[in-house]
Structure formats: structure tokens, C-alpha cells
């Protein structure tokens, strides 16, 4: 089953025809707290008191074990998932219009599509009448203020227990039996028989029999008689001898053997005491008064479940359980909120504490540094220097020098580039660029530090083409000796328009007098400022 610390601790109310059986289930076992007959005065108050006081107000699970439980196998046509719930609900209402407590359980069995019928799923529709016992139980549960876990049917909720028991008892080498009949007498005297086929509920019967304590043989005969009656029903449910049948009986050790002797039907008969069954299921049930009453086993099994096979739906149940579930959920959320805010409080308190410590430490550190700073200032003052004047003067001198036109380097490099054969007529160096437009065309946004315009003349008998080549060659040489400068030819020998914005000569070269010298100009833009 589940780990003991995760096992829910509950109050299980078992509704029987004669009385309400109140059990307390926990990880330790099952305890019958009280049996309250329906006819007792102030039933609801008494039961509510038992639930809230004797059982400690634990969540309540209501298990119906009355004779009047209605089951019907129904086929539900295959519909979309969205519609399925509504179709099942509608069919359930049609099947049991007068029973307010009802639910549907899908079975593994499916119906394939044929020529005459649609494909569909098979459901067990279950319903319980709104009896006085039901009303009284709900009234008591409401008054107890305990939260209601659910309202279930004992045969349905025990079907998986029977399957597990049957699987454990079966011989591993032999073929698994499809059918299992579980028989056990409850404390109200009735013999509850639950028949499962392939782990799903197929049939259940509740019949009164004699008590084991009176006469074991008579008890055995009664049980066998009821078993035979059940077997007669089984053939109607499609049972065949070849399917295999396990029969489990909860009884005293000796009585089980008597029943075994009476059995003539082919089956695997397993008489078990209550403790044996609990041991096989590894289900702690605690100390019980009798070994042949099976209801403690059912209560222990159902009481420890976290989810139920077929929780019954009814307005009476919802009216009580829903608000309490909401309240419980709200409490859980509020507790989570407290946990979160508590964590945040702790976290921020820790952060603030760290910050305060850091502020304190840094404050001390700053005081030390301030002291050291004052010492350093005094140390410099003691030297007798006007440090600010020294530093500002050096900075100013550096700034002036950075703006200085290094004319000597420029002239030296021009001289190198000219060589022995070439000469210039004039050179004009001016600070800054040649105006706004050329400056914005430069890739480097900073304007040049200076611009130097060189002019040179060639005799009128010079071959203009060769002269131009000389000028171009000089431009290349200048560019190579002044790499951070921009050297360009602004006028070639036969050009009459400057490449820049100023036109210095007009007219045609052909019109010029043969004696007039050719003039070429080169511009050097200094490095950026």
C-alpha cells in the first residue's frame, strides 16, 4: 500500500441496514469506535460527537454497505471526449431517475461496431436510494464539522483489494482464474459476497446468515448455501467452468476447512482468517475481536485509499463536502502564503542584517581611508610645492604642444621628397582645414591641424605629360614620407581648374603664350587635431 507517514488517517462511517458503524483508520490499523443504531434518539448529535471527539475530527469517508445498492451495466456510444461526460450523466439520470446518489464506472470491456450497433464503452451505473439512514449520516457528518472525503460503495471500493488478494493467492505456474468470489461476514451479521471478473466488479450480494460463534457447522452450511446461490447467478453473467474461479472466504481457521469440505464446485478455495488476509495484503488492521468478520479488512483498505474507484455524486454530499474542501484549500493556500511571506521576511531580514554589517564595515573602512587621504594631502602640503600649479602648468604646456604645427619636420620631409632636381616656388602653411565642406567629406571627422599648399613652376618648354608624371611622382613620395598626412595634387601642369573650390586660372592652354611657365600645385593636409 502506501508509506505509513503518507497514510491518511480517517473516520470511516459504514452505513449498514441495522446501524451506522464508526471506524477509525490510521497507519496503525482499524478500530471500531462505535456502532450507532438508526433508531437511537438524537442520532445526528451523537454521531457528530463521536466523529469530532472520539475520532478527533478526522476527515470522514462514508462507505455504503446496505443491501439496497443498485448496479446496472450500460453501453454508452462512442462520442467525443467533450460530450462523453454529458452523455454518461444523462444516461445515468435516465437509468436511475429516482435515486439522487449515483455514479458511473467505465469498464475495460468495449463494444465493437457491428452492422446493427454502434461502437461504445461499457459502464457500471451505480445508485443508492436517498434513505433515512443516508440523510441521518449526512446530517451527522455536517454537524461534526469534519471534512468529507467521499461517499463510496463498499463492493466497488473493495474490488481492487479482492483482485490483489486473488493474485497473491493464485499459483504462479497455473493459468490465472478470471473470476473471484470474496465472502466475508460483517459485524451486522450479513454475509457480503463480492464477485469480480478480471479485476472488475461483476456481482455483489448481501444476505443474512447465522453468527459463527453460535455453531460453526451451521455457519459453514449457511455460507455454502449462499455460495451456491451466487454460483447460480454467475452463469447468467457468462461464467463458464473453464474460466477459472478463486473463492476467498474470511473465517475462523477451523470453520474454513468445514466449508472447504462442503464445496463441490470446481474452484480454488482459499479460507483465510482476517489476520491472514491482512498479512497477504500487507495491510495493518490492528487487534480485532473476531477473526471471521471481514468488515475491518474492507475499512482498512478503503480508509487508506488516496483516490476512489467510484466516488458517488449527490447534492447532499456536495453541499457539505464542497464548502469544507474550499475552506481546507483556502487554509492550505493561506498556510503556503504564510510560508512564502515567512521565507521572504527571513530572507530580507538576513539581507538587511548583511547590509547593516557591510555599511558598518565600509563606514569604518572609509574613516580609515579619509584619514589616510588627509595624511597624503598634508604630506604634499608639507613639501612646500604648489602641486596644482605644477600639474596645471604641465597639462597646459602639453595641450599647447599638441596644437603645435611641427613645421621643421614638414619642411624636412618635403625637402627629402623633392630631391635634388625639383624645387618649389612657394609654400603656405595655415592652421586648420580649408573650410566646412572639405572637412565633412573627410572620413576622419576631426579637421586637420594644418594645410600646406605648395606651388612649383616648370619652364614653358617642358613636356607637360612628363611634367605631370613628375608632379604625380612627387605626390607619391610626399605621401610615403608623410604617412599620417593627406597629400593631393590640386593642379597639374595643363590643368586650368583647381581640383578644389578655387579656380586660379581661366582660359585655354592653347591661348597661353608659349613663354609662360607651367604651374603645378600640391596640397598637404596635416594630421587630425
Amino acid at each position: 500500500m502506501s508509506l505509513s507517514f503518507l497514510t491518511p488517517s480517517r473516520t470511516v462511517l459504514m452505513i449498514c441496514d441495522e446501524a451506522l458503524f464508526i471506524y477509525s483508520t490510521s497507519a496503525k490499523g482499524v478500530k471500531l469506535v462505535e456502532t450507532v443504531p438508526w433508531s437511537v434518539d438524537d442520532f445526528e448529535e451523537n454521531v457528530a460527537g463521536i466523529i469530532s471527539k472520539d475520532c478527533g475530527g478526522k476527515p470522514v469517508l462514508i462507505i455504503n454497505d446496505m443491501v439496497e445498492q443498485h448496479y446496472r451495466k450500460e453501453k454508452v456510444p462512442r462520442v467525443s471526449i467533450m460530450d462523453k461526460q454529458n452523455v454518461v450523466k444523462r444516461k445515468l439520470k435516465v437509468a436511475f431517475p429516482n435515486y439522487p446518489v449515483r455514479a458511473a464506472l467505465p469498464l475495460k470491456e468495449k463494444v465493437s461496431k457491428t452492422n446493427s450497433a454502434m461502437a461504445g464503452s461499457i459502464y457500471i451505473f451505480a445508485a443508492v436510494p436517498a434513505t433515512e439512514a443516508f440523510a441521518k449520516t449526512m446530517g451527522a457528518a455536517r454537524k461534526s464539522l469534519a471534512s468529507i472525503v467521499g461517499f463510496c460503495l463498499l463492493p466497488v471500493e473493495s474490488s481492487d483489494m479482492i483482485k490483489k488478494l486473488s493474485d497473491k493467492l493464485s499459483d504462479r505456474n497455473s493459468e490465472k482464474a478470471q473470476w473471484t468470489i470474496f465472502m466475508g461476514q460483517h459485524q451486522n451479521g450479513g454475509l457480503r459476497q463480492i464477485v469480480i471478473r478480471n479485476g472488475e466488479l461483476a456481482l455483489t450480494r448481501m444476505t443474512p446468515i447465522t453468527e459463527n460463534d453460535d455453531d460453526a457447522v451451521v455457519w459453514a452450511k449457511d455460507v455454502h448455501q449462499e455460495f451456491k446461490a451466487t454460483m447460480s447467478y454467475l452463469s447468467r453473467f457468462g461464467y463458464e467452468k473453464t474460466d477459472g474461479l478463486n473463492v476467498i472466504l474470511i473465517s475462523d481457521a477451523g470453520t474454513g476447512d468445514i466449508v472447504n469440505e462442503l464445496m463441490t464446485e470446481p474452484c480454488n478455495f482459499h479460507p483465510l482468517t482476517l489476520d491472514d488476509a491482512a498479512d497477504i495484503l500487507k495491510l495493518p488492521i490492528g487487534i480485532q475481536n473476531t477473526e471471521y468478520h471481514a468488515d475491518a479488512l474492507h475499512m482498512a483498505w478503503s480508509g487508506r485509499k488516496s483516490s476512489f474507484i467510484l466516488p458517488m455524486k449527490a447534492k447532499q454530499i456536495d453541499n457539505v463536502s464542497k464548502p469544507r474542501q474550499v475552506a481546507s484549500l483556502l487554509s492550505v493556500f493561506l498556510l503556503l502564503g504564510i510560508a512564502f511571506l515567512g521565507y521572504q521576511s527571513f530572507d530580507y531580514l538576513q539581507k538587511n542584517s548583511e547590509n547593516f554589517n557591510n555599511i558598518k564595515n565600509l563606514g569604518q573602512k572609509k574613516s580609515k581611508f579619509d584619514l589616510q587621504y588627509d595624511k597624503e594631502v598634508k604630506r604634499k602640503e608639507d613639501l612646500g610645492y604648489n602641486i596644482q600649479l605644477i600639474q596645471s602648468s604641465l597639462a597646459l604646456h602639453k595641450e599647447f604642444e599638441s596644437q603645435q604645427i611641427n613645421a621643421f619636420k614638414l619642411f624636412y620631409n618635403i625637402g627629402r621628397a623633392l630631391g635634388r632636381d625639383m624645387r618649389i616656388d612657394s609654400i603656405e602653411v595655415t592652421r586648420g582645414g580649408k573650410g566646412f565642406y572639405p572637412n565633412i567629406l573627410r572620413k576622419n571627422s576631426k579637421p586637420p591641424l594644418f594645410v600646406a599648399d605648395m606651388q612649383m613652376s616648370f619652364p614653358s618648354n617642358t613636356n607637360a605629360e612628363k611634367g605631370n608624371q613628375e608632379v604625380q611622382s612627387l605626390q607619391s613620395r610626399l605621401q610615403s614620407v608623410l604617412p599620417s598626412h593627406v597629400v593631393s595634387v590640386t593642379k597639374l601642369l595643363e590643368d586650368y581648374e583647381y581640383s578644389e573650390e578655387i579656380v586660379v586660372e581661366t582660359g585655354s592652354a592653347k591661348d597661353a603664350k608659349p613663354s609662360q611657365d607651367y604651374v603645378a600645385e600640391i596640397s598637404i593636409e596635416g594630421p587630425p587635431k
Binding site: 455536517r142 464539522l145 464548502p323 469544507r324 475552506a327 483556502l330 487554509s331 493561506l334 498556510l335 502564503g337 504564510i338 511571506l341 515567512g342 521572504q344 521576511s345 530580507y348 539581507k351 538587511n352 547590509n355 557591510n358 555599511i359 565600509l362 563606514g363 572609509k366 581611508f369 579619509d370 589616510q372 587621504y373 597624503e376 604630506r379 604634499k380 613639501l383 610645492y385 604648489n386 602641486i387 596644482q388 600649479l389 605644477i390 600639474q391 596645471s392 602648468s393 604641465l394 597646459l396 604646456h397 599647447f400 596644437q403 603645435q404 604645427i405 613645421a407 621643421f408 619642411f411 624645387r423 618649389i424 616656388d425 612657394s426 609654400i427 603656405e428 602653411v429 595655415t430 592652421r431
Partner: protein, 213 residues
Amino acid sequence: MIKIIGIKRLVVIFALIGINVVLGAFVYLYLIPENMNTDRELRTLRSQVSSVRADIDRMQVEFEQLNKQQDEFDALKAGGFFSNQVRSHAKKLFSIIQEESQVISAIVSVKSGVIIEYDEAKKANHSVLMSPVEVQIKAFDDASIYKYMEIALNKFPGHLSFDSISIKRLRDANAPILRAIASGASPELVEARIKMSWRTVIPASQVILNNKF
């Protein structure tokens, strides 16, 4: 509803709500703002500590560099960087420069000085005095002009910077010129026009109202 839920459960729920409210108020109205304040205070303090530490480091580095800076400062001082641009002294200097450079003639014009504001100068409670200087030189060759410029840069008190330089050949070396040279004369072959800025640093207290010297 109260009957179904139960007064006990309701009390518990309200108590839980109350605890949530109190804790929420404590966290969001006190702890978080307090945390923001302390964070801010911490950041400010960190930046102050870092600034003071940087200042100390800078001062220590400066202290190490002080000897070197002092030498440079002394050199500037000796070079007349803090002079008042005395015109008579400048006149003598230009005569010496002309002689040493062997240019044929040099017409020098030193215009009245103006105060130019520099942040660095302000820091030391000083101002920059700038006087435009224009020189027109005539020489036998350009080498004498370069020499004139170099001597001026080295000998002139304060800082001298070139604003524009124009050098032009006046005539070619033809036969009459060559004959003149052979006879020991120095004909004027090259002319230069140089514009310079003469800058010195003076105490702010010496600056007169109209900013002219």
C-alpha cells in the same frame, strides 16, 4: 454556510488571513523599502570608498612622479612660461634671433596680449596670456628662415606656436645674382611671413579688467 464550515474553521481561516496581512505588510511596507534604502546607502558608501581609495592611489603615484614633474616645472619656469611678456625683453630677443639666424631683415610686430580662459589654468588660479606675433623675413636662402624659426621657438620666453607660415622665392639665381654673390653681397632671394601665438601663464591676480596687456 457558517454551520457547514464551522466557526472554528472560520476563525482559523481569518487568523491565517490576518497573519498573511501582517506578514505581507511587514515584508512589503517595511523590509523591502528598508532593504532598498540600505542597498542604496551601501552603493553610495562603496562608491565613496572607491573614490577615496582612487584619490589616495593617485596621490601616491603623483608623489612618486612629483620629482620628475618638479624638474619639468622648473624647466618651464626657467623658460619664461610664467613671464609677463615684457615687450622690451621681446625686442632684444628678436634682435638676437635675427643676428644668430643671419636673415637679411626681419620686421616683427607683437600685438597686445589677450587673456584666454583654460580650465587647467583656472584650477591653479592662473590665466593664459596670448599675444599674436607677426614676422616678415627676407633672407638669402630658406635655411636662414628655418634657423630663425628654430631659435625663436627655443629662446623665446613661454610658449610660441606657429599659426601660419608663408615662404616664397623672390627671384631665381640668374647671372647678375650669382655675380653679386661672388662679390660678397647677400641678395634677398626668399621672403617669409610667419604668424605666431605667444602664450605665457600669469597669476589670475595680475589680470586686469579689460583683459589686454
